[in-house]
Amino acid sequence: MIESPKIGIFEYFSKDELYRIHAATLEVLEKIGVKIEEENALRLLDSIGSDVEFSKRIVKIPQHVVEEAIKKSSHSVLFAGRSKEFDLKLEGKKINFGLGEGAINILDCETNSIRPSTKNDVANASKLADALPTIDFVMPLFTAQDVAKQVMPLHNLHAALKNTVKPVMVVDFGLDANYLIKMASTIVGEEQKLKERPLLGMYSEPISPLTHGKDHIKNLMTFANAELPIVYIPSAASCSTAPATMAGAIVQSNAETLSGNVIAQFTKKGAKFIYGADTSVMDQRTGVFSYGAPEWMIVNLAMAQLGRYYNLPTWSTGGCSDSKILDGQATLEAALSLFIAASSGANLIHDVGSFLNFGLTGSLELVTICDEIISMISYVLNGIEVNDETLALDVIAKVGPGGHFITQKHTLDFLRKEHWMPTLLNRQMRESWVKSGSKDLLERAREKTKNILSSHLPNPLPSDVKKELDDVLKKSEKEILNA
């Protein structure tokens, strides 16, 4: 968590550019409109003065409706942990980091082979994230492939809730969101209490270009009414589901997320809507949706700045890679994207360390490496104190030209609080490094990850809550599989 970054927050666009993007977005919404596949949402938008063509499900949303929705929004959103010390306040330039959800395979770093991920992998990812100090919220990272596929999202949530006290966010896979809410309610006792302790958030996407899917909108409305945090952001690809120009892709993405906010806010005033875009580019050699592309970094900078302009809590992405294995490419793409995302000042940065192979392969070791990267970034963005003591004129005078500062009291006073210490990066002299086994970053990350998984015990759920949670899962599973 970076509470109040002192420096380094990029403002990517000039005021004039920002305004032009905003104006173009309003024009898209008012003149072209969006398609909404959900009847209730169509009727809702009709009732508030949008121009709805029911037969085509096209809704043209006038400027004043978009702006009113922004006004109705929650400008500060509580995303709660199981206990208060893990609460996150999403507002201003507070920056928080968390995992993603969706990998299908897990990478075995020792053999560089992959295998289908399991529910146990989700549990381990949650446990690791629970332990790592820079990770502020948890997503299940993997998708459990060893459970009935239709109910996989419930098992993912089940494993996450059990293995972390940090706020939990899950992906809306189209299952009725009430199932998710019921499971999270067991943690706080009853559904009503989730409103005070919103420890579950949901992540969902419109279908670019400019379409809002039926199930996802239904679930968005459910979450809005439940007063739980809802991330609703497009994942468009420039050149395929969005224009080839980045400005155009940003305008379209902005129109998609803002029209989602209109539905959310008019469903429930003050809905805890989180704004942003996971928009990247379609690679022109392979067709893949790139997770390491600098285009996505531009989108992150753009959306954070636009989000601040609208005073909405913002969503962002960092710490992923297109590489198939955990190699130099992976750490390079992860580090750069994390630095850019953090420098954007976004409130929730997700997918941290979660994805190799553009979203398909997960690696726990990459999460551990990203923890170190974030720790470094936080150190830089937190800035330094500049005052009489830190300007250090006295001690500079004392030592004067020549000599050194090692034995100065000033050094002893400051060295611990002023500096960053690596936990994973290696600064040994070459020979001692050789003596201690010549371990590279990957090997050290593997050891650290193993250690955490074998030693860290997430604060367990009380046994009655655990039982209740298991029961709800079983019941829901039965209901869905029998339907």
Binding site: I104, K149, C239, S240, A244, Q284
Partner: protein, 220 residues
């Protein structure tokens, strides 16, 4: 195949390699007006597409350029060359018919559409059912179009089982014997293909074309 290198042929090839729809239409119309054999013009279109395909594979052309060339060619073929062939009592030879779609509950469109484009560029007649296609709709399409192959795309863990259900629906309708099933999408693995009894899968569009040709015993 040897064909006469005429001005028209050069114009057709050039307009395809520069993705110039207007120029291609103009050249094709002119060619037909001047009495060129539509079969010859079609040959120019397909050989140009093959050249663009090679240029894509060696990195010279981009994916969107390849797909654009394919789409422009498709327009020319269906709006000009095929009608002209029909008039002369002949037909375009397609090397096979394929029904493709993304399974029910899944709206991931791009991968499936790229596969459809590449198959069509390779000379197949492709019927694209779009996204969110139920097993019943696949069954209907097989009855209606009698394709040699159907392709099922799924990108979500939660929608992957629909590939299996679609194969079951084909069996129940006694259609499984007459159609090969290929599957694809990021969660699909060799094991899954075996488990559900599909006939093949392709990791990407280029593989998809190869697989279909292999299944149908079509030489490259």
């Amino acid at each position: 195949m040897v064909f006469q290198v005429s001005k028209i042929n050069t114009a057709i090839k050039e307009s395809l390699l520069t993705f110039d729809r207007e120029k291609l239409i103009e050249a094709t119309k002119k060619g037909l007006d001047e009495g060129h054999d539509p079969h010859d013009l079609l040959d120019v279109v397909t050989s140009s597409l093959r050249e663009i395909g090679d240029k894509f594979e060696n990195g010279e052309f981009f994916l969107a350029e390849l797909i654009n060339a394919g789409e422009i060619a498709k327009t020319i073929i269906s709006e000009y060359l095929e009608p002209s062939l029909k008039k002369s009592g002949s037909e375009r030879k397609v090397i096979g018919h394929i029904v493709i779609g993304t399974v029910a509950g899944d709206i991931h469109d791009i991968g499936k559409s790229i596969v459809a484009s590449m198959l069509s560029m390779a000379g197949f007649e492709v019927i694209d059912l779009g996204v969110d296609v139920s097993p019943d709709k696949f069954v209907e399409a097989v009855k209606e179009h009698s394709p040699e192959v159907i392709g099922l795309s799924a990108l979500l863990t939660t929608t992957l089982p629909i590939q299996r259900e679609t194969i079951k629906a084909l069996e129940e309708n006694k259609l499984r014997g007459q159609v090969k099933v290929i599957v694809g999408g990021s969660p699909v693995t060799e094991d899954w293909v075996k488990e559900i009894g599909a006939d093949g899968y392709g990791e990407d569009a280029i593989e998809a074309v190869k697989i279909v040709k292999r299944i149908l015993d079509i030489s490259e």
